[in-house]
């Protein structure tokens, strides 16, 4: 299968559709297509733009009827509210952002440390029932979170891991390991095994050959894989909301969702915290755009 996101995303010359003798109305059709694409792009991007706009609107403009698109008063107060409490201290939201960084970071590190060697082993060695093992690994990733969270909840209650960052880190690592293995196996497959064989002829052990020759070549792949694992953990909501409760442990997704609990909702604050929350994801996603297909299909579809 010759599929590459590079091709899909590249701005390079597209295949030439225009037949040599352009039929009548070809130009009109092309214009129609551009218009259609523009309309669709606006539709897709409008909610994001509206979120950005709401996050910098004065409160009375947020609730204005009819909605104000351009002539609103700009304020940075909502962003300040995300981080600074009225009494000058840190807000629960800012603590939750910090928790998210810790939980997503550590779980990604754990998943990478466990997943990369496993991916290398699956790629290089004749493991018994390899295909079945790989299928099993991926299918654990497809389990409905709500179903898994019930026994996990009971299990954590036994071990005192409820409302504990370690609990979240472990479950996120377990959800990211299948992804890491599948994604990394693809990257390892692309590095010729002959490099290691050559190194071993020079007297290195297999482990040294992996460490000195294969691993350095895998670094870009590892980085891309880790970024995706980071995004998955960062965005995760179900486990976070059921396994944590206190402000000091809670990650950002349940904390942001908690903003709409009361009778009135400060939508400006919701918008601002959503922007703060989503911005790093978009930046990271942009960095790994070349691997986006493999990333979002859990490493199943690639070139």
């Amino acid at each position: 299968m010759a599929v590459s996101v590079d091709e899909a995303v590249s701005t390079g010359p597209a295949r030439d559709h225009a037949p040599p003798a352009r039929r009548l109305g070809g130009r009109g059709r092309s214009v129609l297509e551009v218009v259609l694409l523009t309309v669709l792009a606006v539709l897709m991007l409008f909610p994001v733009l509206w979120m950005l706009e709401t996050s910098i609107k004065e409160n009375r403009d947020v609730y204005a009827i009819p909605a104000k698109f351009f002539d609103f008063d700009v304020t940075m107060a909502h962003f300040k509210d995300v981080f600074v409490a009225p009494d000058g201290g840190r807000t629960a939201l800012s603590v939750s952002f910090f928790n998210s960084v810790v939980v997503a970071g550590v779980s990604t590190l754990l998943a990478t440390v466990l997943g990369v060697p496993a991916a290398w082993a699956y790629s290089r060695f004749a493991v018994r029932a390899k295909k079945d093992q790989l299928f099993f690994i991926l299918s654990t990733r497809f389990m409905p979170p709500v179903v898994v969270v019930i026994p996990i909840f009971l299990m954590y209650r036994e071990f005192g891991l409820i409302d504990n960052k370690l609990g979240l880190i472990l479950i996120y690592a377990a959800f990211n390991v299948p992804f890491t293995i599948w994604m990394m196996k693809g990257f390892v497959d692309e590095v010729p095994a002959e490099y290691e064989d050559a190194a071993m002829l020079d007297g290195y052990t297999r482990l040294q050959a992996f460490w000195r020759y294969t691993l350095p070549l895998l670094v870009p792949g590892i980085a891309a894989t880790a970024v995706f694992a980071l995004i998955f953990s960062w965005n995760e909501f179900v486990f976070a909301t059921f396994l944590t409760s206190s402000d000091s442990v809670r990650t950002a997704p349940p904390a942001i969702a908690g903003l709409i609990g009361g009778t009135t909702t400060d939508w400006g604050l919701v918008a601002a915290s959503s922007v703060v929350f989503a911005l790093p994801v978009l930046v990271f996603a942009y960095l790994v755009r070349k691997h986006l297909i493999a990333g979002v299909t859990l490493g199943a579809v690639r070139r």
């Binding site: 709401t54 409905p144 377990a174």
Partner: protein, 316 residues
Amino acid sequence: MKDPAPLTTDHPGQVVSVTPPAPGRSRRLSDRWLAVTFISPAMLLLLAMSVFPLLWSLYLSFTDYSATRGGPAHFIGFGNYTAILTSAQVHTRALTTLLYVVGAVGLQTVLGFGIAYLISRRTHGRGVLTTLFLVPMMLSPVVVGLFWRFMLDAQFGVVNSMLGSVGLGQVEWLTRQRTALISLIVVDTWQWTPFIMLIALAGLSAVPKYLYEAASIDRASEWFRFRTITLPLVWPLLLIAVMFRAIEAFRLFDLVYILTNGGPGVSTETLSFHIYKVAFLGFNTGTASAYGILMVLVVIVLTQLYLRYLNKLKED
């Protein structure tokens, strides 16, 4: 790229190891040892965090255990399973889930493929367009759910405001039975159309150019080219995307939780959401476990189909 085999060793300490170890048996043994030590930590984590909990669920599904009542669990055989499979409540949720999966995935497929097709016909700005279209997909369901809840608000939501300005009436998007499910489908479509688009675009870019050239020499019509070249070549990859989305949509929980909380009434309760209610609001842990196991069975069947198909595609 790094030199596969350096001509000289830079570290004097390594010189000793130039004498190769005895090849053969010991190497094969150490290979097996390496494979085991490299794979087992990851496997152990999966066994502890995925398999063990599921086995526990399986055990609980045959009991009347309740997480809040505590006390010993009584073995009740298949009681939970028959209760679930014959429950009219569950049938309603199954129908809701089916409507949602078919509606959302169907809409995403049509729109996603359409956008991909339009983008693939452009010569300029394909990179920018693709990047822009992909934004919704990367957002957390929490952000998506909250934000659409704000936009669909009956009073001050921007959607109703826009409808009003073109002279259309107000719609209670999230508080009417029928529109709530439609809203859910619309929001999910908004978020995941880019997913289908991305994969369809990859498929479209992989169609060899010479096929189109041959077709245009034959003066084949545009529609004929689309039907006989584009669609058959892109379809296998598109199907992967569709199956993937169907599995994801089947287990949907977070968007429902945030956007409608299952309501109004039970009109947007998916199976996942119902399990949550049984487990965490009704505290019937045993019943919820059985419910969960049944859902896992469906997911396993779907995943198997998906992986089989994926494998077949890779081998071709």
